[in-house]
Symmetry: C2
Subunit: 142 residues, 2 copies
DNA sequence: GTGAATGCAAAGAGTTTGCAAGGTT
DNA sequence: AACCTTGCAAACTCTTTGCATTCAC
């Protein structure tokens, strides 16, 4: 534990600063799209061979409880995916062939939520949007 | 098998007309939002106590293969949900408290897909959108 | 030192599969 | 009759949990 120490962040959220939490937090920080628990576990293994799979899940659930991480369901095969809870609103464009995910900057439906709030009388708290397609590489292979 | 016989539909898709398929197809027809495999199984049990859970999954997968049904992932707890593959494009507004789902008629992002296609060079095939909030009943209990 | 976090193994969900028996065309 | 579908039980995958040990504060 040296250069990449997230102690201050963990303090702010009231959780202890452990080696395993640092590893996972750093993996999520580096990721540019949501990761499966398995991807995170494999990343951990490279840095600490003794890391256990249940620790990965437990830490992710702790992070979720503290709102540091969000679970974005969404694959066809019922695997959860995890990413840092960025303040900015993000959506992904997902390749249905190779599963590559790229970030969509602008959110097209914030305005829409307002009108929906009026018509449905729901108190709207958020939304999930994913767009699917073939990425430039895969569409040429079709 | 009498009044509610989907033989013609099954013929059209090239699959046999069985009692179990009729039961499941009718349950999906009546549903106004996606159902979990368990909900479907429980519905089946009421009409045919001998129905097996694996039959439910197998029939659902057959229907998916024939594009009669779509699997819409999406719950926080990694359960799949299933609904008929309606031609019209549908989205749901989901209550985060009681899980009630209501259908959103208009899709706000069809235009958006076109612009995204240009900027990303993806060949876009579809999208998934769910909006979350508290329904009128639940928001008063908060 | 005290309570919280970890590793391991085992248990739980949800879903799929092998096989023998039964149903559909 | 030939093939497809079903029921049952067992297997498989993803995730959670119990318990003893280790670690952070």
């Amino acid at each position: 534990m040296k250069e990449t120490d997230n102690r201050e962040i963990f303090n702010r959220y009231g959780i202890k600063n452990t080696r395993q939490r640092n590893i996972i937090f750093n993996i999520l920080k580096k990721a540019d799209s949501p990761l499966t628990a398995e991807q995170i576990f494999l990343g951990c293994k490279k840095l600490d061979d003794s890391m256990s799979f249940s620790t990965v899940y437990r830490i992710l659930n702790t992070f979720i409880l503290k709102d540091m991480v969000v679970k974005t369901s969404i694959t066809e095969d019922n695997k959860s995916m995890f990413e840092l809870n960025y303040e900015e609103h993000k959506h992904y464009l997902v390749c249905v062939s190779c599963s590559k995910m790229i970030t969509i900057g602008h959110c097209p439906i914030e305005d829409y939520e307002n009108s929906l709030q009026k018509t449905t009388n729901f108190d709207i708290t958020g939304h999930k949007l994913e767009v699917y397609g073939y990425c430039p590489q895969c569409k040429n292979k079709k």
